[in-house]
Symmetry: none
Subunit: 207 residues, 4 copies
DNA sequence: AATGAATGAGGATTCATTCAT
DNA sequence: GATGAATGAATCCTCATTCAT
């Protein structure tokens, strides 16, 4: 899979689309300077177009952020739910696949993942609700797997209620420190965090 | 312990100091709107003083942020290291106390903790280095405990290297969602996260 | 007479012409928001066409205003001069008919009349001269009638010189407050203002 | 009476006040280019201060307009009501004094009078209500005098209802064409319009 | 310490207009 | 005729900061 842009697959590559260029530039700018620290001029410069032309594609800076976060959270939800759907019945297997999918997203779209967690606070109104809904749906997937596993005595943790949140925290925090050039491959990272997740639930694990 | 202000003990030092009022207002403003979203006018209004008077206490907005983050990270480091110093030799006990201290800080100074993780990116130069050093020192405490425990076969996790980061992630993420009015007391939260931390390391746990 | 559009007869010329749609939309926009407050986008939206297509019909926003004011003032001049031509010799009768024609125009084309008085200041150069000439010609008709009547001792006012301006002021001000749904019919309004005009000239009236 | 500024007496002269300079510049700018045609840069330049400093005195361009119109209408109301209060009981005398006061205001503050009638449409919300109230109060003074005179058979016009509006229209329209350098003195103009007003009501007048 | 006045740079957004298709 | 994309200049307004008092 090609990954020329920081949001390969998230933002349509095809075509020399100005719209895609703007979204990519906005993602880069928001990732680097934060939503309030980045200016529309930054975005325009990054997209190689004029400042005023941005407004032919997005009615406001907030709409830009909304579109970015919407895409990121939708893609994350899609990956996670697809992975779980294909994972069989065992809660441990399901959890493992969910974590791998989540970590995979964070590594594939690191900037998008970073912006999704750190800039969502600048989203308001309906835009926010839409994004929060997707985000919560993703976390709910983890919560349901855990509830299942606890009900079936596979996850003996005494604290199942905070576990989903912490698993998601760990996975999304990867966007904060991960360096693609480092020694940790995407697969190794995913495997490692899958194990962290199961350990958190105090599942008996073999070496 | 008194907790009049959101950062009682961190800032405040007793009385009606303008300086303390400014720091508290800045903390509240940065917490609510982010560093770039908050204006010096917001800070002045919150502190009940004039805009220009801010500059009698802090030479720039960045210095305000620096002071805030410095205090927060120093206090966190202090609490954690003190707790560990008093915790005996058992790595599990030491880790438990470290986590409890960390969680205690986050709950006592929720806004400061939140600002410390989300706004550190807007700190540059020496200010940043100073703060990053304190932050890393705090995480290093966890890293050392884990290394000790692994060496002594108390923590059988196959992935000791990422564990400290994840434990710290979980603890600091509390600042993101915790509601003081909720049903979770500080002590319960601390206990719960101490167990998560040990579970992450795959320590055998009873009950 | 048909009155589908706010300027039926003034603009419209029968059918679905884009040009007429643009003029009507411009009239509505300038009437509602003023020349400087209305944008070409407003006009395009009102006309149901694209922004750039406006420039296939009018070379600039100013040309749009010019065309509107030209038509309005030409029509007003036409109505007034025709009415006077058909009115016989008595200055009082002539004045009465002139006023009725003027008021009729204002009621039939209220928005056009309003724009004609309030936005003429934004017209410059030749456009302006052309329009001002028509406007002054209309007022001159009143002036001539008054001069005739004064010469023939029909209008004993000591202040004939300002009278024409004030009569025209009263008539055109109708565009400022008139509500077609109100209790005042066009004919009643015309009759009333004809009497005001004669009264202003201190003509003896029975009544 | 001194009349250095276009709003002498309206806008406080004393002091080299920046606030007064801004108001005067705004009045001049709005008078020349209209509210939407004038920019805050125009105002700043006219006031001899920086663009941003305007906002230390007025929170928005609309507030500037509101303040201007408020002052103008308040002053006009004040002048008119004071004149009427001192005018005795005869409705004709009262009307005469009211017209003279109104015309006096228009001549003394021509630009303010012009802006007051032509730019009030760009005022909205509470600002507008406040100003409209003052404007209507002024017109109501004329209405009451007319009602009194009609009741006492001093004003035999068959159309008393539209008379106040037309008298006010005539007086305020003076701001539209008057040239201080012309041959018409303020007093002559006032006298002339007082007579127009009485004539409109069909009062018997001696030569 | 504390203030109010002031400023230049820059913020997001809208403008009338043009151009390639 | 008609469109969508594009642009440079201008819009109102806010920013962090400074200065005289």
């Amino acid at each position: 899979m090609n990954s020329r842009s920081p949001v390969a697959g998230l933002i349509s590559e095809s075509s020399g689309g100005t719209r895609a260029a703007i979204l990519n530039a906005a993602l880069a700018a928001f990732g680097e300077k934060g939503f309030n620290g980045a200016s529309m001029r930054d975005v325009a410069a990054g997209a190689g177009t004029s400042l005023s032309n941005l407004y032919n594609y997005f009615p406001s800076k907030s709409h830009l952020l909304a579109e970015l976060l919407r895409r990121a959270n939708d893609e994350l939800l899609h990956r996670t739910s697809t992975a779980v759907r294909d994972a069989g019945d065992d809660p441990a297997d399901r959890l493992r696949e969910a974590v791998k999918a989540y970590v995979g997203f964070v590594v594939d779209h690191q900037t998008a993942a970073l912006v999704a967690i750190s800039e969502i606070r600048y989203l308001h109104g309906e835009h926010r609700e839409r994004v929060v809904r997707a985000r919560d749906s993703t976390q709910a997937i983890f919560g349901e797997i855990i509830a299942d596993g606890v009900a079936g005595n596979r996850f003996p943790t005494p604290y199942p209620d905070g576990a989903a949140r912490n698993i998601v925290s760990m996975c999304s925090a990867i966007s904060t420190w991960y360096h693609p050039e480092g020694q940790l491959s995407k697969e190794a990272l995913a495997e490692q965090h899958a194990r962290y997740a199961l350990a958190l639930l105090e599942t008996r694990l073999d070496g």
